[in-house]
Amino acid sequence: MQAYRKLNRPVPLTDMDCTLCIEFYSMIEPVRAVQIKAQAMQTFVVVDVYVMLYSLYTIVLDVSKPLELIIPVRRQLGSEDLDPVLRSHDVLQPATRETRKLLGKAMSKRYFKRYHPILALRQPKKIYGNKLGRPMLLKNVLEETNFKFLYLIDAQSMLYPPMTSGKILVKLINATNIDRLDIPIGWTQESLQK
C-alpha cells in the first residue's frame, strides 16, 4: 500500500483486506502444514499427521475457541517467539467467520465424520433403537461392514507406545458436534457418545 501511495496511485487494497489476509493465512497455514507433512516420503509421519489433525479439529476449526493469528512477516523475520496473538471468533471479519465454519464442514465431510456416532455408520437405524422411549443398541458388537471408514490412521497411531491409551481418539469423539436432527429418537448426545 505504501508503494502505491509513494507513486500517487490509487491503492487497490484496504486495511480490511490486510486483516482478512492475516486471518485467512492463520486458517490456511495449519491446514497446509498437515498437507506438507502428509506428503513426506521415506519417513514415518502417520503419528505426526494424526496429532496435527487432532489439533486442527479441536483448535483451528473449533469456532468456540479463538483463532491464533499467524503473521507471515513476523515468521519470516524470525520473531515468531513473541506472545501469540489470539482473536475470538466473534471479533473475526464476517468473511473469516463464514470461511472458518465452511472449512470445518468441508474437513468434517471428508475426514472428521469418522468420529461421528451416526454419520460414520452405513445403516445407523439398524444399530440405534429404542424401547419404550429408552435408548437401546440393537447390535452390541459392530463389524467392519457397519462403518463407512476403515480407521487405519487411528489404528496405526495407537500402535505407537505413547498413544496406546487412545486418549486422543476419545477426545476426537467427544469434540464431534452432533446435529440434533441426526440424533435417533429416544437418544441424547450424551448417550450416543458413551
Binding site: 505504501q2 508503494a3 502505491y4 509513494k6 507513486l7 496511485r9 487497490p12 487494497l13 483486506d17 482478512l20 489476509c21 485467512f24 493465512y25 490456511i28 497455514e29 491446514v31 497446509r32 498437515v34 498437507q35 506438507i36 502428509a38 506428503q39 516420503m41 521415506q42 519417513t43 514415518f44 499427521v49 489433525l53 507471515p72 512477516v73 519470516q76 523475520l77 464476517p94 468473511a95 463464514e98 470461511t99 465452511l102 472449512l103 468441508a106 474437513m107 465431510k109 471428508r110 475426514y111 476403515l150 487405519l152 490412521i153
Partner: protein
C-alpha cells in the same frame, strides 16, 4: 530419491543413458533386482500382509497428458519405511476401450502386469492402499485388488480447501463469494506489482523501510492450494 531434473548433472546422465541403451537396460535390471530382493526379505520376515500401495493418476499441466504411477511402501527386518516407485506410464485409453469396459478394469490390468514383474502376490502381500478419491482408482484398489483403502490426506485437504475458499478453476462454482473475490483481488495486485518496474521498485523501498529486508511477492495458479498460502505470505 530426489532428482533435480533441471540440473546439468541430470541432463548429462540422461543423454548418457540415451546414448548407451544397454547401460540403461542394465541399470533398470539392477534396480528391479534390488526391489525384488527387498520385497523377498520383507515377505520372509512378516507372517501377515505387509505392503502399502499407492496408485495415482497425474495430469501434466503443460502437455495435458495423463500418467499413471504405482508406488509401494513396506518395512523389512533391517530397513524401516522403504518406498519404491515401481512404474509410471501414459494413461490414455481410447474411446473404444472406455466404452468396452469399465475404466477401473483398464486401471487394474496395468498394475497386475507390474505385480507379476516384481513377484508381488496381491492376495498374500498387499495390505493397504492409498489414492485420491477418484471412483475408478478407488474401485481398482478397494474392490479389484482388494486392499484396505484410505483416502490420501493431501488430496483430501486440497479438496476441502478448494470447497471452502471457493477458488475452484471455474469461479461460477464458488460457494464462498467473499473469499473468492478477496483472492482474485490479492492476485491481481501481485500481478500488477510484479509486472510494473516502478511499483516493484517502490515496493522494495517500502519493504526495506518498514522491515529492513526484502520479501518477494509470490503468485500462484488458483488451483494449487499449497502455493496459495505463499501468496498470502
Amino acid at each position: 530419491m530426489v532428482t533435480d531434473r533441471s540440473s546439468a548433472t541430470y541432463r548429462g546422465r540422461w543423454n548418457e543413458v540415451n546414448q548407451h541403451p544397454q547401460a540403461s537396460c542394465r541399470a533398470v535390471h539392477t534396480c528391479e533386482k534390488i526391489i525384488i530382493m527387498s520385497l523377498a526379505e520383507a515377505r520372509s520376515f512378516f507372517t501377515i500382509k505387509y505392503l502399502l500401495l499407492y496408485l495415482d493418476l497425474i495430469k501434466n499441466k503443460m502437455s495435458n497428458q495423463k500418467y499413471l504411477a504405482l508406488r509401494v511402501c513396506f518395512n523389512t527386518s533391517t530397513k524401516f519405511n522403504i518406498g519404491y516407485n515401481l512404474a509410471v506410464r501414459r494413461f490414455a485409453p481410447t474411446t473404444d476401450e472406455r466404452q468396452a469396459e469399465q475404466l477401473s478394469t483398464i486401471l487394474h490390468e496395468w498394475p497386475s502386469g507390474i505385480f507379476e514383474e516384481f513377484g508381488i502376490k496381491v492376495m498374500f502381500d498387499v495390505l493397504t492402499s492409498t489414492s485420491d478419491s477418484g471412483s475408478n482408482v478407488k474401485h481398482t484398489l478397494d474392490i479389484l485388488i482388494d486392499a484396505w483403502w484410505e483416502w490420501c490426506i493431501s488430496h483430501l485437504i486440497h479438496l476441502a480447501l478448494t470447497e471452502t475458499f471457493g477458488t475452484s478453476i471455474d469461479p461460477n462454482n464458488s460457494k464462498n463469494v467473499d473469499a473468492c473475490c478477496f483472492f482474485q483481488r490479492i492476485k491481481k495486485v501481485i500481478e500488477v506489482v510484479n509486472k510494473s518496474e516502478y511499483l516493484q521498485g517502490a515496493f522494495e523501498e517500502a519493504m526495506l523501510e518498514l522491515l529492513e529486508t526484502y520479501l518477494k511477492l509470490f503468485n500462484s495458479p488458483q488451483h494449487r492450494w499449497s502455493s496459495t498460502a505463499l501468496v498470502l505470505e
